[in-house]
Structure formats: C-alpha cells, structure tokens
Amino acid sequence: MSADNTDIVRVDFAFKRELAQKIEGNLANFCYQCGACVGDCPATRYSVAFNPREIMLKVLYGLEGELLGESSVLWECTNCYNCHERCPQEVKPVEVIISLKNMLADRGRAPAATDKVIRTFMTSGRTVPDNPAINKQRAKYGLAPLGPVPMEEIHALLEPLEDEGGGS
C-alpha cells in the first residue's frame, strides 16, 4: 500500500443504496470474505471468471463497473443455491447476485433468453404458451386442456408500487 493512499478503493455508496432497495440486496454487508461459498460453487469449478466471494467483495466496495457491465459475469451463476447453503453469515450470495441481476435488468442489460421468457409470460402467463398441439397431446393421456390464465390480474400485479423509482 503506498503512503499517499492512491490504492484505497472509494466505496460507491450510491450503488450500495440502490442495491439495498432490492429485496435481500443488502445482505452482502454481513460478508466477512471467508470463502465458504467458493468451495462448493459449480460455476467457480467450471469458469475462470466466476467467484462468489470476489463478487461479494465488489459489492462491499460498490464496484458497479465490474459488476453491471454489458457482459456481466453474474449470468454465469448456475442458481444452484450451494452458496446460500454454505454461508455462515446468511449472506445468501445467490440472492445478492439476483438483486444485482435486477439492477442489470433495470439498465436494459438482461440477456436475450431472459427477455424472451418474460415476453412469453407477459402474453400467456406461462413460460410454455398454450397451443392446440399441447392440448391434443394432453387428451392422449386423458388430461383436460390447459386452463386460462387471467392475464388482467397478472398485469395488475406487475405494476411497481408508487414509491419505487424506475423499476423494470
């Protein structure tokens, strides 16, 4: 460390406040960097870039540029929940990562696959849309056709509360 303090990372509090607005986004504050999340992480095992402990450290500093870029490493998370299982501090790293993904989505940076699933859901209320071929298959097994999803109810639920800035 140099004497003039140029190596010291400046914490980005604006970023941390935005993350704290997300459900369970502020849990990284309890992280003491033990690395229990890393040992059991399949994405870490198979990726050169993904490391949940490093991601939590970047969150503690608020390094937005390294977390919320165009091709964020966060999408490599397998959502297996091993880190949630292992963390002695109940940081739930996977949930912090999901909150960060919500911030990426707010910035229009969700992957195409995510947008596609959301579009399907917004029109049909399902991730596999209803169609006559499906109901024909179902009839073969004596199953009733898929029931309707009341989309007006779904759309009403998706509007953010008024106190929420931006939203997605």
Partner: protein, 294 residues
C-alpha cells in the same frame, strides 16, 4: 382421503403430459385426492423472471398461493423450480414489510396473501403423508434388480433452511422412494452437481453435464431417476447433445420418478409416454414380460 391443491406449473403439463398423467394415476392409488387449482399462472420461474424483477416475481407467486388459501388447502408441486419459487415466497412473506408490499399489489385484484397454505414437492408429500410402506404396498410389479442412479437436482433440497426437505449433504428421500418400488438406488460420484440449465452461459453447463454424465455412466445403471422436469430435459435432449459434443457414448435413460412408480403399480409401459424420450427406459420392459399372463 387426504386432499391437496395441485400446482402443475408450466413444463410438466405442456411438455411432459405423461408425467402429469403418472402423478394423477399414482396419487389416486395412494389415497391422495388431487384438487385442481383454477387460474394458476407460471409459478413464476425462479431463474429468468426472478432475475428480472424479484418483487414482481413474489407478487405473482403470492397470487398462486392465494388460490390454494381460498380453498383452505396445502399445495403440492411437481417441479423443483415451482417448489423453489413457491417455498421461497412462503418463507419471504413471513417478513411483515415484504408481505405488506406484496399485499399492496394483491389488493389491486381484490386478493390478500395470508400464509396459510404450506408448499411441498410431491416427493416430500408422498414421504410425509403417504409413507414408504404404503408406496411399497401399492406396487404390483416390484422392479427387483433394476439399478436406478439418482439425480436430486438443486432446488428440491437447497436452501435447506427454506425447503426443509432433507439433509442436502446426504439426502434419503429419493433413495427410499426407489427402494419402495423394489429397485436399487445408486449414488454416482457427481450426484451433488447441478444440471447447469439455469446458467446463462454455453460452455459452463456443457462441462458440468459432461462430468455428471460421465459418473452416471460409470455406474452402468438401467436408468436415472429424478423429480424435476428441467433436469429431465438436460438428461434427455442434453445427454444426446453432450455425447455428440464430446464424442462419448452416454446413454442412461432419464425417468421422472412418478412414471416409474406408475409402471410399478401396473400401468403399461406403452401408456407412459416413454416413446417420446430420446433415451427410452427399455430395461423396464422385462418386468412387463415377466408379469404377462401365460
């Protein structure tokens, strides 16, 4: 007869109706009455939807739970993803502040979440409310000598504080269910590994699936038993893809547990939709021949 609200989700009713058929067939023989919920949507999925907007995800999931609360029934699911979403919602909405925010949204459609309907995956429901002995008694053709490799997947077990299903480091529920139908469960070396479907990257899931399939293959099992339709896709279509990619011969047929149970309870092989699988569990046919009248 015990009654439970059935939350079918998207994948099984639309892509794998034979799995739904098997669930209905097996539960009726286990004295469980299925109550269908009207107007359910996607749970919504715990990967894409949740990564887009977690609060909206909770609101839509809470609406699904409300449908069962209206009937005064606990819920069972048939997919690990739906189980994850609904269980986590049930857990998170114990927090008053989060529940209040979600209820503000639900008020727009004249609903209120109360937290009165418990959520369980069908495998856990059968373990806890039916019991392994009753499963065993329902079997008409025990699958003796059938070697079944086990794949748990992630979301049935973890996070254990929320799912409250089994010890994620040494789970027993699927092994015991496989034993109850007379078959022999085997735990392969990479049993703990994720199927990779929810990783939004091409390379990582391919490597994971390769290592998973390699240790499944080592066991020379007759089939791979599982309880999640997402994992199933990885092991059926995905197994073909990985075999080609790595030029290796992987060919352990995946089977959703309740199709296996339906078969053991006497449903003919031809009625269980196995012809639609890329890898067909033909090892089952020998039990059918043995049981056929002379």
């Amino acid at each position: 007869m015990k009654r439970y609200a059935f939350f079918p989700g998207c994948l099984i009713p639309a892509r794998h109706p034979a799995m739904e058929f098997a669930i209905r067939s097996t539960l009726s023989k286990l004295e469980v009455e299925i109550v269908d919920l009207e107007g359910t949507s996607c749970c919504p999925d715990p990967i894409y939807f949740k990564s887009k907007d977690k609060e909206s995800w909770l609101a839509v999931a809470a609406r699904n739970l409300c449908l069962a609360e209206d009937l005064g029934l606990d819920i069972f699911t048939n997919c690990s993803g739906c189980t994850a979403t609904l269980s986590e919602t049930y857990h998170l909405l114990k927090d008053e502040e989060i529940r209040d925010r979600v209820n503000q949204r639900l008020a727009r459609i004249g609903r209120e979440y109360r937290g009165t309907s418990r959520v369980r995956h069908i495998a856990t429901l059968v373990r806890d409310e039916v019991g392994y002995d009753a499963v065993k008694e329902s079997v008409v053709r025990p699958l003796e000598g059938l070697k079944v490799a086990i794949h748990y997947g992630c979301h049935l077990l973890k996070p254990s504080r929320i799912m409250q299903v089994d010890n994620p480091d040494n789970p027993q529920v699927l092994e015991r269910l496989v034993e109850a139908i007379g078959a022999t469960p085997v735990r392969h070396a990479n049993w703990y590994l994720c199927c990779g479907k929810a990783c939004q990257n091409e390379d990582i899931p391919n490597k994971m699936m390769h290592d998973l399939l390699a240790t499944v293959n080592d066991e020379e099992a007759d089939l791979l038993g599982m309880i999640c339709p997402t994992c199933f896709g990885q092991f059926d279509h995905g197994q073909m893809k990985i075999g080609k990619l790595y030029e290796e011969d992987f060919s352990t047929p995946p089977v959703y547990y309740f199709q296996l149970l339906a078969f053991a309870q006497g449903v003919p092989y031809d009625k269980l939709g196995f012809e639609r699988q890329r890898f067909k569990p033909v090892a089952l046919q020998r039990y059918e021949q043995a049981a056929a009248p002379a």
